[in-house]
Amino acid sequence: MDSLPDIAGPIVKRHRLSTRLWHWLNALLLYILFASGLGIFNAHPRLYWGQYGANFDRAWLELERFGSWWTLPASYNLALSRHWHLAAAPIFAFALLAYMLWSLANRHVFRDLAFRRGELAPRHVWQDIRDHARLRFPTGAAALRYNVLQKASYIGVIFVALPLVILTGLTMSPGMNAAWPWLVDLFGGRQSARSLHFIAAFALAAFFLVHILMVLLAGPLNEIRAMITGRYRVPQDKSGERP
């Protein structure tokens, strides 16, 4: 897809260093956290709502253990899964916090992620959905801006799913429960928090799959280069028209 010479456009600077660093650190940490989290989940693959929940209580979800393909470590080892998870979690949480603050300070959030006037109009959103469904990706100057679905998913990930997965994770710690009892109450109990933690983790996994799919469809080499070096080749209209 990248090798079509007739749509090659100018190369521009796209992603800031902070975004690129955070992106790859996050990719690594999320992988570790997801895989080790499934290893931990395997110790009791049942989920409940409320304050308590054990074998005699009603579970809303009961799964088989995830196979060795999914988990870290590959063979069941609750202690080691926990060590991976609890070592990666604080780095992940503080990196997110730093990135959030930095992105507010350098106005990345307002400039690139905030919705613009009219973007949330149903007609505009619908148009964007149709463009995605028909795999019609923006070209020229439009390719340098995030579209409304992209903005919504990035905002959803950075400001909803990632904080939710961190806060529900903290809620599972009995020590943190004593330190911040309001956090358990916020999520309606420890077992509810554990369920939400699981749901948020799978929402992030779903984001990851769509994200990868979009990168593949939009031109993987160009997209990956942009996230490593920051340099992005602006895709042109097939007609060869230049801005």
Binding site: Y31, I32, A35, I40, F41, A43, H44, R46, Q51, Y52, G53, A54, N55, F56, D57, W69, L72, P73, A74, L78, A79, L80, R82, H83, W84, L86, A87, P90, M172, S173, P174, G175, M176, N177, A178, A179, W180, P181, V184, R190, Q191, R194, I212, L216, P220
Partner: protein
């Protein structure tokens, strides 16, 4: 597209085996395991020394309190004390104390009690809420005269975990003197059942389930955990590599 998918799959496999190989490296393992120290430091910094674990209303108690780990120690020594309804059982409090104690169950009943409805969180992920009644550990330590150089309290249990290695656990003095740290002899207004640790179990409410030692026979004050078991401060810590600080 095919290539990319294969690359992704290959990447995941490489990451997995790479991580597993890394975790076998001693230095990396130590770094990984040291996260426990960060969590302990962070939690202790965030909470007041006597911050209480949440307590619940009677209507929030789990219908059945799941018992885990040893269901019955079944050793000749345990069977002997069980047969007499624990009349011959004595709790020893010794080690770095001025006055070692030996207490019967009825003497324990006569000491000041604390009742608390708390949530038990297993390291596996499940939770059960129960009402505990018991003697605050602080009362025993004060009565025994804990020496100033003692740093940890070790709980020796009656359940043999195989190969003559009894269960044991340990806590530091922050948790030992915490108001909710009790030696419980009753669960949900009934004497502790064998499955739940009769005649006496530890409740240390700001930590996970494996810290809640059952079948407690002896409480020992020490200044180091090195000489006990394999030196990690608890049975599962020694055998499986669980964190000694189980507030996480």
């Amino acid at each position: 597209m095919m290539f990319a998918r294969r690359a992704l799959l290959l990447g995941a496999t490489a990451a997995l085996t790479g991580c597993d190989r890394l975790a076998r490296n001693d230095q990396f393992r130590r770094a990984l395991f040291s996260a426990e120290n960060f969590h302990k430091w962070a939690q202790r910094s965030l909470m007041a020394r006597d911050a209480l674990a949440q307590e619940f209303r009677p209507d929030q108690i789990s219908p059945i309190f799941r018992a885990n780990g040893t269901a019955n120690p079944n050793t000749p020594a345990y069977k002997a004390i069980w047969r007499t309804g624990f009349a011959d059982w004595r709790l020893r409090v010794d080690g770095m104390v001025a006055r070692p104690l030996s207490l019967s169950l009825s003497q324990m009943h006569a000491l000041p009690h604390r009742e608390q409805i708390t949530r038990h969180d297993c390291v596996e992920g499940w939770s059960a809420i129960g009402k505990w009644r018991g003697v605050p550990l602080r009362i025993l330590l004060d009565a025994a005269g804990l020496r100033r150089d003692a740093r940890y309290i070790v709980f020796h249990c009656a359940d043999d975990m195989g190969g003559g290695r009894p269960y044991y656990e340990s806590i530091d003095l922050v948790d030992a003197f915490h108001p909710q740290t009790i030696l419980a002899f009753a669960l949900n207004d009934r004497p502790l059942s064998v499955a739940n640790g009769a005649p006496l179990r530890l409740r240390v409410e700001r930590q996970l389930g494996y810290k809640q030692a059952k079948y407690v026979m002896r409480i020992e004050a020490v200044d180091s955990l090195d000489a006990i078991g394999r030196g990690k401060g608890g049975f599962w810590e020694d055998v499986a590599g669980y964190d000694w600080y189980a507030g996480i």
